[in-house]
Amino acid sequence: MARGQTGEVARRKPNGDGRFAADKDELLRFYREMLMIRRFEERAGQLYGMGLIGGFCHLYIGQEAIAVGVEAVREPGDQIITGYRDHGHMLACGMDPKEVMAELTGRIGGSSRGKGGSMHMFSMEAGFYGGHGIVGAQVSLGTGLALANKYRGDGRVSFTYFGDGAANQGQVYESFNMAELWSLPAIYVIENNQYAMGTSVERSSALVELSKRGASFNIPGEQVDGMDVLAVRDAARKAAEHARSGKGPYILEMKTYRYRGHSMSDPAKYRTREEVDEVRKTRDPIDHVEELLEKHGWADAAGLKEIDAEVKRIVADAAEFARTSPEPDPSELYTDVYTEVRA
């Protein structure tokens, strides 16, 4: 692909070469999980507008297929880590929408007891290691998770998500080198949504094909249509097998798009409304699965509506919980600074 041209990977047809096969239950599950993220994020946007969520709030709308597709191949004990655009990953890995939403509103019912907020959430139960606000930091951390896996020899792999902008941080390459040098079971999932805040990949990167960023370290990489949950799932499976079998790290460059601004208050003047609309119309990951379901006769409009209604109910409950869960007790201010040392 020529420089300056990040054009989409053409959507491959499902069931064409067998790689993209999916059965009814799996496809319905993907549909529901992606819809859950979308509705959750729409609601988070609303709550932000109502002043219930403060600070920064980065929505995952448009990128749902990635977190959901990768999750499909994760095995128990495999870890996930990402940056601040993290709500989707948390829902995909099984965290309760209530505790995620309540963290967004800074309430005691939140997964970090209201102390972390949108960008800093964690769930050891779900194998979710954050939620990190410093661009690029999660890449070294995720590589460290892989180091621990190798150290323990427990067959686990780590999935480290980061953006196209984060891909320019120096510590990414320090991590790549060690990961390959020591054959660490690390899967790097680059969510290339084409912009880092207001800067397009073309304006920030000498080499725009981010899948090749591991080449000088000998790390295999490939571009994936990140708007196609089945393509994501299959690529993630291949990468996980590579890492799990002791062959070392793997890079997946997910071509995707964020529909909303970088955060809630981004005017997004760096791209046109038409560009956004075009992606929504032609590449939407949820529409895509909807089409597949209908094509196979696995769901009809009424069935899908039912799923939507159920998802909306769960999201509404989460929002209600997040609104009514109390603020943390003032004594919480001083707890969790240190782990207590017991005699």
């Binding site: 509705r39 729409e42 609601r43 946007g45 609303q46 932000y48 507008g49 109502m50 002043g51 403060g54 600070g55 920064f56 963290e103 800074g106 209201g114 102390k115 972390g116 907020g117 949108s118 960008m119 800093h120 606000g133 410093i134 661009v135 690029g136 902008g165 984060a166 320019n168 941080q169 120096g170 880092a196 805040m197 207001g198 800067t199 304006r203 920030s204 990167s205 601004g261 970088h262 955060s263 809630m264 208050s265 981004d266 005017p267 003047k269 760096y270 409304r273 929504r280 209604a309 909306k312 109910r313 999201v315 509404a316 929002a319 603020e327 943390p328 919480e332 201010l333 001083y334 600074v337």
Partner: protein, 458 residues
């Protein structure tokens, strides 16, 4: 039937103008459709529908001003089970991550670096007769300082994330790309350690870079280059290699951005010989001190405050306004207690002083402006008058600015102290996200008032 509410673009937005309706009663909308445009004093944003349905009624007419957040602006006849009210703000021409508060909030030195202190006592420039003052925001004062210095010296250039095409993440570099072009206003990738190093390297050849960090939280990625390369090189090279460079950006806690994005680095940098460290409060100082920083032959860390960017202050117009580095300013005179503060904390201290005055305690408020080199003469002189010291900083107390100021006062004015110094700081915890905990954690007017009364035994 659900109400569509006036959305807030930022946690601090209270009202706005309903600039334009894109829909009318009877129109069908679906989620994601732009239904209206809203304006605040610094931004416009599109409002998107978050539900499908038919607009049954427009409740607030196009052009209406001062529409309070959460006021119903239209009514949507939705489908059964459709999700509740409100619209989602889509975008604003303001700060990218978040908006500084709409409301105005009121804003060190080293030791050995004696060589940087001129023989003449430092004074702010006299205002020539006939000079007028204009109301300027801190944001624009900083921009004007950079623009004036870039016009004056072709070796001055600006680099950082989103400084050019996006006009600055917080719009501080608005218009600079248009005036000076892409050679001198440079958008960098997200590579703080790298571009800070590039800046220092360029400075080694005599260029005068201004390196903007989107916030100082991200300068932690680059702190090695700031300290090991910029601060120490003159010394290590036996005086051969100067680095005239400014590292600038917002510092301290914004609003609800939590632990990793809310830190005051004043004491970190003020600890380091070879650096000068500035943290202005008002717009005249922001402008005058930034111009001085750019002209200074040393590396300067220039700490701004996001919550102050939108505030207006008087700034002298039409003159080359340069404020000397290393001179504190007494912002309010009083003989009951000395309150020493910098950056945004000066504003809180001035408010506290008003409250104290009403209760009969006259506070003298000293704005440090420069942290290194610290103007201890001004502090000590004040304490000799009041006999009492309160320091205020947004950062953590241990090993902090207040600790150092108090130590200087104890060393130089011990016999004049009538009470042990008190320090108002951020609580000794990472900044929490929850609104109530955040408020408890940060210094406040009330905490300053209480500390002043305590040292005055009231």
């Amino acid at each position: 039937m659900t109400d569509i509410l006036m959305p807030a673009l930022s946690p601090t937005m209270e009202e706005g103008t309903l600039a334009k309706w894109h829909v009318k009663a009877g129109d069908t909308v679906k989620s994601g459709d732009v239904i209206a445009e809203i304006e605040t004093d610094k931004a416009t944003m599109e409002v998107e529908a978050v539900d499908e349905g038919v607009i049954s009624e427009i409740l607030v007419a196009e052009g209406a001003q001062e529409v309070k957040v959460n006021t119903p602006i239209a009514r949507l006849a939705g489908e059964a089970g459709a999700s509740p009210p409100a619209a989602a703000p889509q975008a604003a021409a303001g700060d990218p991550e978040k908006q500084p508060p709409e409301k105005a909030q009121p804003q060190p030195e080293g030791e050995g670096a004696v060589a940087v202190v001129p023989a003449e006592p430092l004074k702010d420039p006299e205002l020539p007769a006939g000079v007028t003052l204009a109301k300027v925001t801190i944001r624009d004062a900083l921009r004007d300082a950079m623009a004036e210095e870039m016009r004056r010296d072709p070796d001055v250039f600006l680099m950082g994330e989103e400084v050019a095409e996006y006009q600055g993440a917080y719009k501080v570099s608005r218009g600079l790309l248009e005036e000076f072009g892409a050679r001198r206003v440079i958008d960098t990738p997200i590579t703080e350690h790298g571009f800070a190093g590039l800046g220092v390297g360029a400075a080694m050849t005599g260029l005068k870079p201004i390196v903007e960090f989107m916030t100082f939280n991200f300068a932690m990625q680059a702190i090695d280059q700031i300290i090991n390369s910029a601060a120490k090189t003159l010394y290590m090279s036996g005086g051969q290699l100067k680095t005239s460079i400014v590292f600038r950006g917002p510092n301290g806690a914004a609003s609800r951005v939590a632990a990793q994005h809310s830190q005051d680095y004043a004491s970190w940098y003020a600890h380091v010989p070879g650096l000068k460290v500035i943290a202005p409060y008002d717009a005249a100082d922001a402008k005058g001190l930034l111009k001085a920083a750019i002209r200074d032959p040393n590396p300067v860390v220039f700490l701004e405050h996001e919550m102050l960017y939108g505030q207006e202050f008087d700034v002298p117009e039409g003159i080359d306004w340069v404020v000397p580095i290393g001179k504190a300013k007494v912002r309010r005179e009083g003989n009951g207690v000395t309150i020493v503060a910098y950056s945004r904390m000066v504003g809180l201290s001035l408010k506290a002083a008003e409250i104290l005055a009403a209760e009969g305690l006259e506070a003298e408020v000293v704005d440090l402006r420069t942290l290194r080199p610290l103007d201890h003469a001004t502090i000590v002189e004040s304490v000799k008058k009041t006999g009492r010291l309160v320091t205020v900083e947004e950062g953590w107390g241990p090993f902090g600015v207040g600790a150092y100021v108090a130590a200087k006062v104890v060393e130089e004015a011990f016999d004049w102290l009538d009470a042990p110094p008190a320090r108002v700081c951020q609580e000794d915890v990472p900044l929490p996200y929850a609104a109530n905990l955040e408020a408890l954690s940060l210094p406040s007017v009330e905490k300053i008032v209480a500390a002043a009364k305590a040292v005055a035994y009231r």
